[in-house]
């Protein structure tokens, strides 16, 4: 299976394959990628300083997130993963919404109910993320099915890692999607590792994209560090789904530059050489070269954008830190639509006792 690549690691591109995007959009993509990179660095730092409890980096996977999200319409739905803060940002979630979630404060739309990186933003059709890695796939199929029978012209994008493809529910969901021919796009961000285990411990298959064939729909292999390739492949899959052509599995080949999470030390299980190789394929560096060559970005623009991103991060972190934690009694709300007697009783007890 051939891998779609438009911008090579050195920034050279194949102009026959370039998608039609306005300069403004291309610069927007680049800015979002910068933001995701800096967001990751800053949040990991905050975690190290003990200011947020937990973090999962997505450094190296900026092109997967930004390229795919740019291919969606406002009304489309996303069942994403914890390495997808960039998808949230492109869809319009304010940076503060992400930082509030990590700080689990009272402004977090998820009310501080989940550990960091478990995004969920109804206003932008980003469904609450779960830690188990494949259960969202069948949920995405269900939403796509519902939209289809309601004759709403929307598409569901669900993203997951290479590890998720080992789960039984990857199979069930792909199978259901094929049988019901629903408007869903499966985006596998193959970052080569599931915590410590390399791809070869997840599958003996030549690649992941080829698995789609067994379910009766198309699989596509793309360079996941090439934002234009990811955009183009996702856009084609989204357009196909929207016009009734059914599901697609996209495998975006990328690399997890950091550890699995803030609790992980990747040097235990992989060498520096490998990391260096992937650094040379960095998604941001190559896109910068591409934009510069196209005359869409000067060194000065680049510096200005980096400064903007940094100062936005600083001010948002400052704002989020001022927000208090969720009120104690909110522990009992949203278990059910209305609080049943046993929770009212526990709430009254907590209130009466006041302390911890």
């Amino acid at each position: 299976m051939e891998m779609l690549q438009i911008v090579r690691a050195d920034g050279e591109h194949d102009s026959k394959l370039e998608p039609t995007l306005r300069g403004e959009d291309l610069r927007g993509m680049y800015r979002h990628m910068l933001m995701v990179r800096r967001f990751n660095e800053r949040m990991l730092l905050l975690q190290r300083q003990g200011r947020i409890g937990f973090f999962i980096e997505s450094t190296g996977q900026e092109a997967c997130q930004i390229g795919s999200a740019f291919a969606l319409a406002r009304s489309d739905w996303v069942y994403g993963g914890y390495r997808d803060p960039g998808i949230c940002l492109v869809r319009g979630v304010p940076l503060k919404g992400l930082v509030d979630q990590l700080m689990a404060n009272a402004d977090d739309p998820n009310k501080g109910r989940q550990m960091g990186v478990h995004w969920g933003y109804r206003d932008w059709n980003i469904v609450s993320i779960s830690s188990p890695v494949a259960c969202r796939l069948s949920q995405a199929v269900g939403t796509a099915y519902a939209a289809k029978i309601k004759k709403d012209n929307i598409v569901c994008l669900t993203s997951f890692g290479d590890g998720a493809t080992s789960q039984g529910e990857f199979h069930s969901a792909m199978n259901f999607a094929g049988v019901f021919r629903v408007p869903v796009v499966f985006l596998c961000e193959n970052n080569q590792y599931a915590i410590s285990l390399p791809l070869r411990r997840q599958t003996a298959s030549a690649n992941i994209a080829v698995k789609a064939e067994a379910y009766g729909f198309e699989g596509v292999l793309v360079d996941g560090n090439d934002v234009l390739a990811v955009y183009k492949a996702t856009r084609a899959a989204v357009d196909k789904a929207r016009s009734g052509g059914g599901p697609t599995l996209i495998e975006a080949v990328t690399y997890r530059m950091g550890g699995h999470s803030s609790s992980d030390d990747a040097s235990k299980y992989r060498g520096a050489e490998e990391l260096e190789l992937w650094k040379s394929r960095d998604p941001i560096t190559r896109f910068r070269v591409y934009l510069t060559k196209k005359g869409l970005l000067t060194a000065q623009d680049d510096r200005r954008m980096q400064d903007e991103v940094d100062s936005e991060l600083v001010s948002v972190i400052r704002e989020s830190q001022k927000v208090p934690p969720p009120p104690r009694l909110s522990i009992f709300t949203d278990v059910y639509a209305e609080m049943p007697w046993h929770l009212r009783e526990e709430a009254a007890e907590l209130e009466r006792e006041g302390g911890s």
Binding site: V127, S128, S138, Q139, G142, A173, N175
Partner: protein
């Protein structure tokens, strides 16, 4: 069974967003015939025969619910629900909470459960306690056709996810006329099946029928039993239970699930916390033995009227 079928049909007529999905629910009408005739009336988009995979049946139902449909999923036997356990306990039950109220997922999961049909352990177990132990779920189980209709309607109109356990032993053995008009049996309300003075007998599901027999045997011995059908296990009706315990001072809980960690233990603890001053005897449990569900010895395993009677005698003579 007819009560379930008619209630599904009525609600699908009333609510255009309602869909049913599961294995063999369409052309076959369900292995117990619960969905018979629905495909013909409502079409294949709303009566969805799915591939054979419980995890994706529940996952798909969740996705449908989040998009505004009202799915009623059938899991063919409760013994096959476990591939979907993660979708039920970590996804369906927790979505409202973990999303801060942004994504409530209202799914009803109907599933036949319980023994007494010579089904062996893959077609007989009662594992309601797993689900009662999961905040966010509503767990209901009717013991008769009247409640089946009224509770199922309440389940389908509840904003919360519901595990609706259908005791398959009474699917065809208990027959009664059920009103054709709409009525709701409220979630969280127990039913006093018969009033009595000497011992409170608590049960649910198919065991309620066994308890009626036990209560009749006790009556012949001059022992007056107050039989309560909990029918809503989460939330459960503690008021009705405590009111009865205050009157009788003696309690037997009977269920066909295994005893250790069974829901009877929870009821017993709740009574202890609230009404120990009224108790005149230890709370006794009659349950399935703490073994896997047997096949040849099913009749030994299931609580019988005689076993329940022995517990009633013991409680009353303590």
């Amino acid at each position: 069974m007819q009560a379930v079928n008619q209630t599904l049909r009525d609600e699908m007529r009333r609510n255009g967003n309602m869909v049913v999905l599961g294995e063999d629910v369409g052309r076959d009408g369900g292995v117990f015939r619960a969905t018979e005739g629905l495909l013909e009336e409502f079409g294949a988009e709303r009566v969805v025969d799915t591939p054979l995979a419980e995890d994706a049946i529940v996952g798909m139902a969740i996705g449908m619910a989040l998009y505004g449909l009202q799915p009623v999923a059938e899991i063919q036997f409760m013994d096959f629900i476990y591939p979907a356990f993660n979708e039920i306990v970590s996804e369906l039950a927790k979505l409202r909470y973990r999303s801060g109220g942004q994504y409530p997922a209202h799914v009803v999961i109907r599933t036949p459960y319980g023994g007494g049909v010579k089904g062996g352990h893959y077609h007989s177990q009662s594992t309601e306690a797993y689900f009662v132990h999961t905040p966010g779920l509503v767990v209901l189980t009717p013991s008769n056709p009247y409640d089946a209709r009224g509770l199922l309607l309440s389940a389908m109109r509840s904003p919360d996810p519901v595990i609706f356990l259908e005791p398959k032993r009474i699917y065809r053995t208990v027959k009664e006329e059920v009103p054709a008009e709409e009525y709701l049996v409220p979630i969280g309300s127990a039913r006093v099946v018969q009033e009595g003075e000497d011992v409170t007998l608590l049960s649910w599901g198919a065991t309620v029928q066994t308890c009626r027999e036990a209560a009749a045997l006790a009556q012949a011995e001059g022992l007056s039993v107050e039989l309560i059908d909990l029918r809503s296990l989460l939330p459960f009706d503690i008021e009705t239970v405590v009111r009865s315990v205050r009157k009788t001072g003696r309690v037997v809980v009977a269920h066909e699930a295994t005893k250790i960690g069974g829901f009877g233990a929870e009821i017993s603890a709740q009574i202890n916390e609230r009404a120990i001053d009224s108790l005149e005897a230890p709370i006794l449990r009659v349950a399935g033995y703490d073994t896997p569900f047997p096949y040849a010895l099913e009749g030994v395993y299931l609580p019988s009227p005689e076993r329940i009677l022995r517990a009633l005698r013991k409680a009353s003579s303590y």
